[in-house]
């Protein structure tokens, strides 16, 4: 408990730092919020354009698809808001030797290196993603119970852990490969799969992207909870996947750490 308090205090200090920094560059904050809002609008536009020509995609109606899209955006906004800047910089820090800075800090290295900065414009836009989910649910005439909402929040949290772990594992490869920037790019390509209904995947693609890699299920499971109610199997599946991927990233990160030799002369 004492340790938890300690890390909470550390994290709150990071929050203060990020808020102060954002207030210093207000125009930047507004510009980036607009950019992100624009990108979210583009994804909604894609769904709208396709549904102007068809009634269903893999059995999902327009508003069901928008609910899925909103959920996918929510997980992505939260990931970018809480972790992206840190994880993205981590690769550079390992390459340039600036990672030394974290070695001297009083706390768990993985925590310190991945929670230092918050991206407030992404967090602000997560409200837009929630609004899209709420709007779609209303259009579908859904009234999810408190249990469904709590499960949705839990599954979004699991999705966040999975994405964080996947991303950190990719970047931790920088401990072995000098330039892992291309690998980070693969993450965003895979993320786009989370906006597609699970039923659209068939054969090999189902085996790889639904059953093996949890890229599709991270958004489909919470969306299905709102659409069809609490499903214990989905919860266990996603919680299990989150635990597995988090354990994997802890192992990879710490194995990589043993190889770190700084870059200073």
């Amino acid at each position: 408990m004492h340790k938890l308090n300690y890390y909470l205090k550390l994290w709150l200090a990071s929050v203060r730092y990020s808020v102060t920094r954002t207030l210093m560059f207000r125009a930047d904050f507004l510009l980036w919020s607009t950019v992100e809002l624009f990108w979210m609008g583009i994804n909604i536009l894609l769904v709208s354009v396709i549904y102007a020509h068809t009634d269903s995609i893999a059995g999902w109606s327009k508003y069901e698809m928008l609910l899925l899209l909103g959920t996918s955006m929510l997980v992505q906004r939260l990931l970018i808001g809480f972790f992206w800047a840190n994880i993205h910089e981590l690769g550079d820090n390992i390459r340039t030797g600036k990672f030394d800075f974290f070695l001297a800090q009083p706390g768990n290295l993985m925590f310190m290196a991945s929670t230092r900065k918050l991206d407030l414009d992404s967090l602000a836009n997560s409200v837009v993603a929630i609004a899209l989910v709420a709007y779609s649910a209303r259009e579908l005439g859904l009234s999810p119970s408190l249990l469904d909402l709590a499960t949705y929040a839990f599954l979004v949290g699991c999705g966040l852990v999975i994405h964080y772990s996947f991303m950190l594992t990719m970047v931790s490869l920088s401990f072995w490969i000098t330039n892992a920037q291309g690998l980070e790019g693969s993450y965003f390509t895979l993320f786009s799969f989370s906006r597609i209904p699970r039923e659209a995947f068939r054969g090999v693609t189902q085996l790889v992207f639904v059953w093996t890699l949890p890229v599709v299920i991270v958004s489909n499971a919470p969306a299905q909870t709102i659409l069809y109610g609490f499903n214990p199997q989905l919860c266990l599946w996603l919680a299990g996947a989150a635990a597995f991927w988090f354990a994997l990233t802890v192992i990879v990160f710490h194995c990589g750490l043993k190889r770190y030799s700084s870059a200073s002369s």
């Binding site: 583009i42 068809t54 597609i196």
Partner: protein, 266 residues
């Protein structure tokens, strides 16, 4: 005069070949992107023989052609390169030399696209057995004749827009936000996300008067049979007009930017 830029082109080729693995990796990832597009659109087509008058094979041909164009024509990081050279003072050397910075940058862009364009053909060739059934190319010869100027002008528009955004560094310290905003607009109005003809008719009509339409959609639509001869002819005229406008804008930004620029150092 020509040999000066020929040397720049050769240097550009060599320096881009250094990054051949990065380009190749990007090419492989674009196949994953194509897979996502394929899964989504196949699901949309199930139960519909055509969408917007085109079947699934014609639609997939459009998206495959976009990938090829992306690597052969689309500006990659030219905006950042121009921006970096302004912020780091590296453009100072060009102010003292008998060389046009626009032409110098455009030559490097041509070299980079040549390398990335040919490298993307490797993963595409590897995936060809899987893609073969989804490629239907129209047979009218005029399309291939019209595609040549359309592609060249598209390259000029792509480069000029990126160059203009790079020049904003004369006024702003950080231009990444502007670039991402423009990229978002280009993604939609350039037809990267979906064929523009699927949009409501008035919006599609309006898009034809914007430069973004001519960045990707226009050459891809000529090559994949989405527009007819009449639209292609009028499109080439509008495309040429946009090249002239963007050239004038870039020249204006360069001149005005240099008034503000301070070259420091010995």
């Amino acid at each position: 005069m020509i040999s000066k830029y020929a040397q720049v082109f050769l240097v550009g080729l060599q320096s881009n070949l250094v990054y051949r693995w990065n380009f190749l990796l990007r090419g492989v990832f674009s196949l994953f992107h194509l897979l996502g597009v394929f899964i989504l659109w196949s699901a949309a087509f199930s139960g519909n023989a055509t969408i917007g008058g085109f079947d699934v094979r014609q639609t997939m041909t459009y998206f495959i052609s976009l990938i090829v164009l992306q690597f052969f024509v689309a500006a990659a990081n030219e905006d950042h390169q121009v921006s970096d050279e302004i912020r780091n003072g590296l453009i100072n050397q060009f102010l003292l030399k008998p060389i046009s910075y626009f032409a110098y940058r455009f030559t490097l862009y041509l070299a980079a696209r040549l390398v990335s364009g040919f490298l993307v053909l490797i993963p595409l060739a590897a995936a060809f057995p899987l893609l073969r059934d989804y490629i239907v190319m129209p047979t009218e010869p005029w399309r291939y004749v019209a595609a040549v100027p359309a592609l060249l002008l598209s390259g000029l528009i792509q480069f000029s827009i990126a160059y203009c955004f790079g020049l904003l560094s004369f006024w702003f310290l950080e231009i990444q936000g502007f670039i991402m905003l423009s990229y978002a607009v280009e993604t939609v109005l350039g037809g990267n996300l979906f064929p523009l003809d699927l949009m409501p008719a008035p919006i599609f009509k309006a898009a034809q008067y914007l430069p973004f339409y001519y960045q990707m959609y226009f050459p891809a639509a000529i090559l994949t049979g989405r527009i007819g001869l009449e639209s292609a002819t009028s499109g080439l005229l509008i495309q040429s007009a946009w090249v002239c406008v963007l050239f004038l804008v870039s020249h204006f930004l360069w001149k005005r930017g240099l008034w503000l620029h301070t070259a420091v150092g010995g």
